[in-house]
């Protein structure tokens, strides 16, 4: 299987909610074998983008295709290979097990044993009624179900919201375990620390569209995340602390550094046009 072919292709997407323009001309490709992190402030269209990819929303113009099929047409051949975990959802009044049994019927790569195992990992009892579980438990049950479907495209909207700290660690682990070469996972979040070391490449959206779409490797080639005693006059972003200045500066000497997603996000928002050119 050629994993370099984009599974999701978005071309010149325009989307608006009545007078509120969300995307004016968004183009984007998601390739297999990667876990994309979709970052952005509230209201920039992260959820709208995910909903458009899986066909829940229809763009005003432009094209969004998944495995060559228009997502807006909700073709069952496409839908059987894509799943969307919404940030907020209403759990049905049936047990988690029955929900999984009935909803998995139309997915060809559903793995019931994997679902049982994931429920065990997340400490969710699948015999409980879905709607009677706590918000965090419901979310974990749905994530376990989504991962066990083994669809080629998995879209998750703020999956770490509502999870306790140990569950966030488990979430990172299970997602990285379930990521395969033929699968693309896109995770939208504004809690970047929750998914650090998991997401790569990073996509940062703002109201004007996409500012950055780059792999961690490309980011660390161009930016240096460093701590120093003196502020760098060319720093894209810096934060003063007791131990000095934590800064994002141009990587002039090709020094390796660990990408800090929160710092990257803040630096991107402050230098939108510069970063657009830098990562073009």
């Amino acid at each position: 299987m050629d994993t370099n072919n984009p599974i999701v292709k978005i071309e010149h997407l325009k989307f608006n909610y009545r007078k509120h323009i969300v995307f004016e001309d968004l183009s984007l490709e998601l390739e297999a074998g990667r876990i994309y992190g979709l970052l952005g402030e509230n209201g920039v269209g992260k959820t709208t983008l995910l909903r458009t990819i899986c066909g829940l929303l229809r763009a005003k113009s432009g094209e969004c295709t998944v495995m060559g099929m228009r997502s807006a047409s909700r073709n069952p051949e496409m839908l059987k290979d894509i799943y969307f975990v919404p940030e907020l959802f209403v759990a049905p009044p049936i047990s988690v097990k029955r929900f999984a049994q009935s909803n998995s019927l139309l997915y060809p790569r559903w793995d019931a044993a994997q679902f049982e195992k994931l429920c065990l990992t997340f400490e969710v009892d699948p015999t409980y009624r879905f709607d009677k579980l706590s918000h965090g438990q419901q979310k974990k049950a749905l994530i376990a179900f989504a991962l066990a479907l083994n669809t080629r495209v998995l879209l998750m909207d703020e999956p770490s919201n509502g999870l306790d700290i140990p569950s966030k660690t488990t979430l990172r682990r299970v997602i990285s375990e379930c990521a395969t070469e033929d699968r693309v996972i896109a995770i939208s979040t504004h809690q970047v620390r929750d998914l650090e070391n998991l997401i790569d490449p990073i996509i940062i959206l703002d109201r004007s569209g996409m500012i950055l779409n780059a792999s961690i490797e490309q980011i660390s080639e161009k930016l240096l995340f460093t701590m120093s005693q003196e502020p760098d006059p060319e720093a894209y972003w810096s934060e003063n602390s007791l131990s000095g200045y934590y800064q994002v500066i141009p990587n002039r000497d090709g020094m390796p550094s660990r990408v800090n997603l929160e710092a990257l996000f803040n630096a991107t928002l402050r230098n939108k046009e510069t970063f657009k050119k830098l990562f073009k």
Binding site: R58, P76, L79, F84, P86, L88, P92, S102, N103, L105
Partner: protein
Amino acid sequence: MTMNATFSIHRLGLTIYKELQEKYMPILTSTGIILMTYLAIWALNLIDGEPVAAGARASSAATILSIIGCLAPFFLYKNENRRMEGVFYAVSPSSTLEKTISMLVICSVIFPLLSTVLLMSLDSLLTLMPFEARYSGSIWGCMFSSKEYLNTITSFLQLNTDPMAIDFVNRMFDTIIPLAVPPIVGLALTQSAFVLLNMLFRRHKIGYTLLTLLGIWVIAIVIVVISAVSVFDNLQNNPDINPERIYQWLITLYKAAIVFCTYILPIACWILTYFRIRRIQY
């Protein structure tokens, strides 16, 4: 788009099975409500102490089945068009056609058939009860045959004894019978409008549906009144018009109304439901 993307019998079967797994509780609850209401009527008849004929029972059974049957889509598919609750339905990998057919099978075939058969069985059971307010005769035939239902209802209603009125009603019934469908089919057909309105409105579904139907009813009444006034005006201005011509005109209008309500409207409602499911955004 290939045929497989539009329709696959295997996928349709799985879709129906999936929806039945999720909806068996509301189906059983609605059927339970129908049976309990019928039992309540039976209890009232017991207090009354008078024997109840099959015609009266057929009429009340059809009424209960119609009311609950029309409300059923609101219980069974209340969340499917909602932005938050309907996501699982929308991303489910079956085509719009399969989703529409599945809705039709569950709402208009499985539910009416199940509730009617159980209600008829309950009635049969009650006829065996040795109480004073005996339930005699069977109403099974009434629910599955339009002719039998109409005959039973007519005899039960004890129509006006005016020979002209009787003749008029008889001729009207002769016109209806070839076009009429059995009550159980009628129930399934009536549901189509409620299924459409249930998918059309996202919130306060029953309230908006009643308001819409009230609006349509008011418009229909206005049209009928205007038509009647113009007919009477015509009659007054042309007293030599043959009454038979007026009668034939009324019969034709009546036939057209029956064909429209029984065949055209349900088909149109289901087609519109299909497009609603296809176009809906979440």
